[in-house]
């Protein structure tokens, strides 16, 4: 089971600012280990952020996104106490979903 994401969602005026830090190796598939063998690619491919069952951000990532990916953005229409739900899926088919409450 992958480690949980760290999500912060704060109401700023009319919009909600979401900051998320995911825990993932994001291995590029370009690096080699000490024996000279290529380390296979292992990275998050899709990310979906939803608020009140509506998608507020969808992303597709390649291995060029940094290890332990960080993402920050804003959307309109959140209220204090609402939940923001984030799901990622990696190229192994592993997935993780976490929620945060808008503060």
């Amino acid at each position: 089971m992958p480690d949980p994401m760290k999500i912060r969602a704060n109401l700023l005026g009319d919009s909600t600012e979401v900051k998320v830090l995911m825990s993932h190796e994001m291995e590029t598939g370009q690096r080699k280990d000490a024996q000279g063998k290529t380390i296979p690619a292992w990275f998050i491919q899709t990310v979906k952020v939803t608020h009140a069952d509506k998608v507020v951000l969808a992303a597709q990532w390649g291995p060029a996104v940094s290890k332990n990916p960080f993402l920050s953005f804003k959307f309109e229409g959140g209220a204090k106490g609402d939940k923001v739900r984030i799901t990622w899926i990696d190229n192994h088919g592993d997935t993780r979903t976490d929620e945060a409450t808008i503060a």
């Binding site: 899709t46 507020v56 969808a58 291995p63 060029a64 996104v65 804003k74 309109e76 088919g93």
Partner: protein
Amino acid sequence: MNTQRRQAMKAASAWTLVTLVAAAGWLKPGDAAAEDWNKGAFDTHSMDETLKALGGSPPAPSKDIVFFSTPDIAENGAVVPIGIRSSVPKTESIAILIEKNPNMLAAVFDIPPGTDPSLSTRIKMGQTSDVYALVKADGKYYVASKEIKVTLGGCGG
């Protein structure tokens, strides 16, 4: 002896066919990740190829796309902060492309209505390169670029 060789060759050619079929996209892996993920676009090496894979037309340079909190010089190529804001009306998606990375496309973000067309993330850069912010708005493509100098690459091993 001969039949064994023949069988081996048969097996080998069958495998080649499977691989070709898979590459052509006729065989879709069953997992959800692969369905939404545009593999073709992430395999590209030039702006033209990437645009083709995303299904777009040549982008127009735009001053309405700006980089914020993005360094001119990145000391560590493994973690380069990138912030992109688009003021192009009806922005639908923002993509980050790094010209000199092994594969050009780093990330694509779909921006539904109601979401601010402004976001920040962190990417890896193998070497000093131009970074492109490709914005799709109202079906058209717009682009802005910024050179980021990298002191220590983030893709080698």
